[in-house]
């Protein structure tokens, strides 16, 4: 079982098409066969890695390194320009859902829609909606329109939905920073419970949390995998690189003065 892969990325690359003018885009559609009207910006380049079932892999990298784009590709939200990837099982993108909530609808109604978006059938939603309410633990607010929710309450509902999506692969982007301590604890408990059977891919800037949680860490820089391996080692290298760069920058700044 443990030798089975959950996520496999082979030479994945992603280029955004940058247009100088909106008109160029129209030209591209009409005359694209003969001439190119855009510049390519490669945000991911030849990304290769495999995640085994049951692994917890953290992704680190500075802003713009391509972390979110990589997650978007793995979730099936956008397509890679090059390469191929495969994910086995149902995916739950944690906390991403909160953005799709409708303020006019109640927590319960939004939770039903959110669960359906994650691919649950009507029966499955019916079966787990009360568990979602219990997990979110926001009391009578669950039956109120969401526009009166606090940010933390929205996050609670979003997390509760994902926790009941019966996922095989959990994809977490910058999560767990919202919500109060009790709820954060609950999320962490859930994630370590989930890790016993499922696979986790998590992007975070809280390196200590990754060190504690992950079995491996992937360091993404300028769209390529710079290093992947033991969390403590990769994170140490990453920190050193960040520090070195910061030092360089402040030296340049001092010289400029």
């Amino acid at each position: 079982m443990s030798s089975e892969f959950a996520i496999r990325c082979g030479g994945v690359g992603k280029a955004f098409q940058l247009y100088a003018h909106q008109n160029d885009q129209l030209k591209q559609i009409l005359f694209g066969l003969w001439k190119k009207f855009y510049r390519e910006k490669w945000v991911l380049n030849d990304v290769n890695f495999t995640v085994q079932r049951g692994e917890r892999v953290g992704i680190v990298g500075r802003n713009g390194a391509g972390k979110t784009t990589l997650l978007q590709i793995l979730c099936g939200i956008t397509q890679p320009t090059r390469g191929e990837f495969e994910i086995k099982g149902r995916i739950a993108p944690i906390l991403a859902l909160g953005s799709g909530f409708d303020g006019l609808l109640t927590g319960r109604e939004n939770a039903r829609i959110g669960a359906a978006i994650l691919g649950l059938s009507r029966k499955e939603v019916d079966a787990c909606i009360d568990d979602i309410a219990a997990f979110a633990d926001i009391g009578p607010f669950f039956e109120q329109p969401m526009r009166i929710y606090s940010v933390g309450m929205i996050a609670r509902v979003a997390f509760a939905i994902c926790a009941h999506a019966q996922a095989d692969v959990l994809i977490v982007d910058e999560a767990l920073s919202v919500g109060d301590e009790i709820f954060q604890k609950k999320c962490e408990n859930y994630i370590s419970e989930f890790a016993k059977t499922g696979t986790i891919l998590i992007v975070s800037h809280s390196l200590e949390f990754l060190k504690k949680l992950c079995t491996r860490v992937l360091w993404l820089e300028n769209g390529v995998v710079r290093e992947i391996g033991d969390p403590a080692k990769v994170i140490a290298h990453y920190r050193a690189a960040m520090k070195a760069e910061q030092g360089q920058k402040s030296r340049v700044a001092m010289k400029a003065e």
């Binding site: 979730c75 993108p93 991403a96 953005s99 799709g100 359906a116 019966q166 499922g198």
Partner: protein, 282 residues
């Protein structure tokens, strides 16, 4: 807390780059519940905080019909031939409402859900389909009123009334085709939002809504007029309900159907082509 060891056996979805997401009918079927929920959300959102609520779905076609009635009293014309004008115009107006509501909701369905489609995967085609579903629901209420109008004007029952739903279905297909094309275009070119109201307004004049084809359109231009995919189902709908309505020739209905099918298939292909990278743009 729920234990996740007790997961039920699920079909395994492999999300891999494939050109034709839109044609994965199995996946679409799996998400049918979502389409219903999103349509329901659409309707809720549309009528929330309105005093008249769902009545609006009826007021609009009724108002338009009354405007037509007044207008054609003022100008000497017989826009519906020998047919009683109000039932004829109201029948046309309801079908037109189905088209115009469906298309305007469907066309913006991807961009108005941008925050959703950039965060989570589900078959994107669900969004335009849900928008069309919500429009159908809207218009269903008007159909009840239409039945009332038919009774009031003592329109005799006839067998071909049973065929009316088929013509409604044909309009729905046209709406889906337009929604697929326009929603994908709207993701890239927001020009569409400015052009759409214009196109829809013009569309009403070149479709047999306020008038019937045989009463207004010059005979030598009928062949061209019939390329409008709405001509077949609108006239067909009228023919099925109102005794003595001329309806359309078989060739015209075939023309309408053919154009609808072409629009639908190319729309599916175009949508499938665009949905792969649409989130890079919205």
């Amino acid at each position: 807390m729920t234990s996740f060891a007790s997961r039920s056996a699920k079909p395994v979805y492999e999300i891999s780059p494939s050109a034709l997401h839109a044609f994965k009918l199995g996946e679409l079927w799996h998400y049918r519940h979502l389409a219903m929920l999103l349509a329901w959300r659409h309707i809720r959102a549309r009528y929330k905080q309105t005093a008249l609520g769902l009545l609006w779905a009826v007021i609009v076609p009724v108002a338009f019909t009354l405007i037509f009635v007044v207008f054609f009293r003022l100008v000497p014309a017989q826009p519906a031939g020998n047919l009683p004008y109000i039932p004829s115009a109201f029948a046309g107006m309801i079908m037109w409402q189905l088209f115009t509501r469906g298309v305007s909701e469907g066309a913006t369905s991807l961009t108005s859900n941008a925050s959703l489609i950039t965060k989570v995967y589900f078959p994107r085609i669900i969004l335009p389909l849900a928008a069309v579903l919500s429009a159908i629901f809207d218009v269903l209420i008007s159909f009840v009123l239409l039945a009332g109008v038919l009774v009031w004007f003592q329109i005799p029952l006839q067998q071909q009334m049973l065929l009316a739903p088929l013509f409604v279905l044909q309009v729905v297909l046209v709406v889906v085709a337009f929604s697929l094309w326009l929603s994908a275009i709207d993701g890239v070119f927001r020009d569409l939002r400015h052009a759409l109201p214009l196109i829809l307004q013009l569309g009403m004049f070149v479709s047999p809504v306020a008038y019937t084809t045989s009463a207004i359109v010059p005979q030598k231009w009928t062949w061209l007029y019939e390329y409008n995919p709405l001509v077949g189902p609108l006239e067909g709908f009228r023919w099925s309900l109102l005794q003595g309505a001329p309806g359309v020739s078989t060739s015209a209905e075939i023309k309408s159907l053919a154009i609808t099918v072409v629009l639908l298939l190319t729309g599916l292909l175009f949508f499938a082509r665009m949905e792969r990278t649409i989130v890079d743009q919205v």
